[in-house]
């Protein structure tokens, strides 16, 4: 415990922001309105950008500043705007994707976090610096993003889950290896952007086909005999 107090204020801020990102992952699991989900995702993007900038300042790798700026623009502003626009065009912006069993969901999510912590313990030994402590949190974000993909039923919230998963991977990269090479980052960022645009197109066609965007109803698209 005294070790925590010996850290500088910047490093303490990084750890606090990491915990706040974990809270946004929990919030994404629990939000039932589509508008609120997209807004929470935007918040997660901003927090992630701020964390990356602080890590850049602490460690002194200037390319992380570019990374942070990219994250802020893309995940904090552009992608939420695109998702909102598509959802409004499809008329599903005001939808509600209710959680089936919030108590069990919360318990499973906390069990996932504890599990990630136990898995990440040996990894933490290999990493240097302040970001060692947040490796477990970043892994937990990845797992919670995947869990969100499993339990959500509306297509838009599943896309947000996919984005949250990508956020978690990005955060894990920042935590474990102090960012990815610039080429990889730009590539991944543009892939994500393209994915969002493609999702919009696919949603439109799915909705034309089966007149609903409920993921569970997608089994109607199968050709096999019943």
């Amino acid at each position: 415990m005294t070790r925590y107090l010996e850290l500088q204020l910047v490093e303490q801020a990084i750890i606090t922001l990491a915990a706040m990102i974990l809270v946004t992952s929990f919030a994404l699991l629990g939000q039932s309105r589509v508008v609120a989900t997209i807004r929470t995702f935007a918040w997660q993007g901003w927090l992630l950008a701020l964390t990356t900038a602080l890590v850049a300042w602490d460690i002194g790798h200037p390319h992380l500043y570019v990374s942070a700026l990219l994250t802020a623009i893309l995940k904090g502003a552009l992608i939420p705007w695109l998702l909102t626009r598509q959802a409004r065009q499809l008329g599903i912006l005001r939808d509600v994707d209710s959680i089936v069993r919030p108590g069990i969901t919360l318990l499973i999510a906390s069990a996932l976090v504890v599990f990630c912590y136990s898995v990440a313990l040996p990894i933490g030994q290999l990493v240097e610096g302040v970001t060692r402590d947040v490796v477990a949190i970043s892994l937990a974000n990845v797992m919670l993003g995947m869990f969100m993909l499993v339990i959500r039923r509306k297509a838009v919230t599943q896309v947000v889950g996919f984005m949250a998963l990508e956020n978690g991977i990005f955060f894990a990269a920042v935590a474990a290896t102090q960012g990815m090479p610039m080429v990889v980052e730009l590539g991944v960022a543009f892939d994500v952007l393209v994915a969002v645009v493609l999702f919009g197109v696919i949603f439109f066609h799915i909705r034309e086909s089966i007149e609903s965007l409920d993921v569970d109803a997608l089994n109607r698209l199968s050709e096999g005999e019943k």
Partner: protein, 681 residues
């Protein structure tokens, strides 16, 4: 000198219990024998057990004898150490108080078609069986005493056997008791195969392979858990406890479940050797599930004794959570904290015996006077049965874990144990233990809600049925028994340091680790780890309450003049101006539980049926509304129905050998003969 005194006391205890049974055999012809001989002998047995417990715990006396009964190569061994003494004390207190309650309560059976001698006979045998289980020092004596206890209580549960539902409940109880006994026997078998003979001394030194040790742990958990009432093996509890006479329910719920816990503790801490932390996690998981399941079902049941039965399930879950904490800490090299966990478990064992017996005796009084089992038919009993109401209130306060009563102390000790999780190395355990403690907090709060519901619906408000309106207070014997238990609940809450010191001798003998810090600061402060970490002073809180009451009294006296000019007057309650409030307009027990049903709706299998009858002249005006709620235990569907189906399928396959042809049966005998000859040669 003291050893022989203990020996005589033990002999006297057992013989008075058996004497009570034997004397009750004449009770059919002479009913006064129950009042003058059977119950007093039972009470004597209880008091002697208590005396033995005091000698063992305070003076450190112990006993180990070998009786010339039993199998020729395995005589009965009896042993009295601190753990046995503690549980013998619990048996003694409750037995003594039940024997005060019994004569007045069983008077109603004199005009019934049921046999009084059966009641008295099996009660004495039941108590003797429980005492022998606690004293037994070898596997054979233990199993014999266990069977005596189970079978005697079966006859007691089936006492009012003219109703088919009671017979079914008793049969279920006997079936599960036997299955549990078989599992315990298998567990002893494992120990027996690793040691020279079947005495517990040999079990203590037996070295089990890790795999066999885990298997023994699983069998013990299943076997003793079935008797104690762990989910999903608890299904007999809500069926059997409501059916038995109330003083027997008090004995079963207050004492018999604890004897099962005794067996488990003896096996886990005394025989099994080095503990593994996985066992601790299993205990925590099973305990949490049991606690939450029990309390959620207690919240929706409307039969008073079924609520108490499910609440017993919840408390057993809490005891197993404490045991889980203890095992986890002991397995991770924190012995002081492990001892603290075990102390919390044993304290809760004592508390539950006290307040659950009190609640069952109260329920017996209420049901006898109001002739109603259903909470929805009671109400307003506080004015008609004021003393029973007061003792019921004390029981409800104790079981809801509110300061300064005893339930709170064991819960506080459990939380203090859980809070020390930072001493552990494993990060996973440091995260899991607080989550389990949060589940424990939830069950405690839900238990408080449950007992507000029970007390509010039955004693407060207005009476909802005819018999309840005319209920009177019960006879003195029953009141004295309730008063004793209520007083003990308050005492064990106000003097936790003394109780912890007593329990400390038990844990010291089991785990060889003293707990000096808890009572180091005198009788006033309970400081389990250290005064800076946490301290609780129940007497001072009680003093604060008393000072508040004194202050109120002073103000009351001072305001006497103004009270004479402004006397308290009675008016109608607020009815929105419509008038005509009837007792049907109050909140029912089901209505009280409705917000919980909304939050936890997936826990139960609820079948609701609403029938609305509209007015003939005005079709939109409702004339009558009927609401039916049926609660089913989910475990039947998820656990027992598949098991039952599997057993039936398997037996159907095996039944294929029953072809009906005589030649096939002759062929079976022929084949068996060939195989045997081949084996011999």
């Amino acid at each position: 000198m003291r050893d022989s005194l203990v020996l005589y006391l033990t002999a006297a205890t057992l013989s008075s219990a058996i004497g009570s049974s034997v004397s009750a055999l004449l009770a059919d012809r002479y009913p006064w024998i129950l009042r003058l001989a059977a119950f007093p002998l039972l009470g004597l047995s209880g008091l002697l057990s208590l005396a033995i417990a005091a000698l063992v715990l305070l003076e450190g006396v112990s006993l180990a004898i070998e009786l010339p009964v039993g199998l020729p190569w395995l005589y009965w061994h009896l042993r009295l150490d601190a753990l046995a003494g503690f549980f013998l004390g619990i048996i003694g207190i409750i037995t003594a108080i039940v024997s005060i309650y019994g004569p007045s309560y069983t008077r109603k059976y004199q005009q019934s078609p049921y046999s009084l001698s059966a009641l008295g006979f099996f009660t004495g045998l039941f108590v003797a069986g429980m005492q022998l289980v606690v004293l037994a020092d070898d596997a054979f004596a233990f199993m014999m005493a266990w069977e005596v206890m189970s079978v005697a209580s079966y006859f007691l549960v089936a006492y009012e056997h003219h109703q088919a539902a009671n017979r079914r409940a008793a049969f279920l109880y006997l079936l599960m008791a036997q299955i549990g006994a078989v599992l315990i026997l298998l567990c002893f078998g494992i120990f027996g195969s690793f040691s020279t003979d079947f005495t517990f001394d040999a079990f203590r030194v037996a070295q089990l392979d890790p795999l066999w040790a885990s298997l023994a742990f699983a069998l013990a958990l299943a076997g003793f858990g079935m008797k104690a009432g762990l989910v999903p093996l608890h299904v007999w509890l809500p069926e059997a406890h409501p059916v038995a006479p109330s003083h027997i329910s008090a004995l079963m719920s207050g004492v018999m479940l604890k004897v099962a816990v005794y067996g488990f503790i003896r096996l886990l801490f005394d025989f099994l050797g080095p503990l593994r932390w996985e066992w601790g996690l299993v205990l925590l998981a099973v305990g949490s599930l049991t606690a939450i399941y029990g309390v959620l079902y207690a919240l929706v049941e409307t039969d008073l004794k079924r609520v108490l039965a499910y609440s017993s399930v919840e408390n057993i879950g809490i005891i197993f959570i404490c045991l889980g904490f203890s095992v986890t800490y002991l397995a991770n090299g924190a012995p002081i904290l492990g001892v603290l966990g075990l102390i919390a478990a044993l304290y809760h064992v004592l508390n539950h015996a006290l307040f659950k017996s009190l609640l069952f005796l109260n329920a017996g009084a209420v049901i006898e006077r109001s002739h109603e089992h259903d909470l929805e038919a009671m109400g307003g009993l506080l004015r008609r049965m004021p003393w029973t109401g007061l003792f019921f209130l004390l029981g409800c306060l104790s079981i809801s874990a509110l300061p300064p009563f005893n339930g709170f102390v064991s819960e506080w000790l459990t939380f203090q144990t859980a809070l020390q999780a930072t001493a552990l190395e494993s990060g996973v355990l440091r995260a899991v233990i607080p989550i389990v403690a949060a589940i424990l907090a939830l069950t405690g709060a839900l238990a408080a809600a449950c007992f507000v519901r029970v007390y509010g619906t039955s004693f407060l408000g207005q009476p909802r049925s005819r018999h309840v309106r005319r209920a009177r207070e019960v006879r003195t014997g029953m009141l004295v028994a309730q008063a004793c238990l209520a007083g003990l609940c308050v005492l064990t809450g106000l003097l936790p340091t003394m109780v912890v010191a007593l329990i400390g001798t038990v844990t010291e003998s089991l785990l060889h680790q003293p707990i000096a810090a808890a009572t180091r600061h005198g009788w006033l402060w309970l400081t389990p780890i250290g005064p800076e970490t946490a301290s609780y002073s129940a007497p001072l809180i009680m003093l604060g309450v008393l000072m508040a009451l004194v202050a109120w009294f002073c103000v009351w006296v001072w305001l006497r003049k103004s009270r004479k000019s402004n006397p308290i007057t009675r008016r109608d309650p607020w009815d929105c101006g419509f008038g005509g409030l009837t007792p049907r307009m109050q909140y029912t027990a089901t209505a009280f539980a409705m917000p919980f049903e909304q939050v936890f709706r997936h826990t139960w299998r609820l079948k609701t049926q609403v029938t609305r009858e509209m007015d003939a002249d005005l079709p939109t005006k409702p004339k009558d509304l009927e609401y039916q709620l049926e609660v089913e235990d989910r475990v039947w569907l998820w656990f027992y129905a598949p098991v039952g189906k599997w057993v039936l399928n398997a037996s159907r396959h095996v039944a294929r050998i029953q072809t009906g042809h005589l030649r096939h049966y002759l062929a079976y005998s022929f084949l068996t003969l060939i195989v045997l000859l081949w084996l011999i040669s």
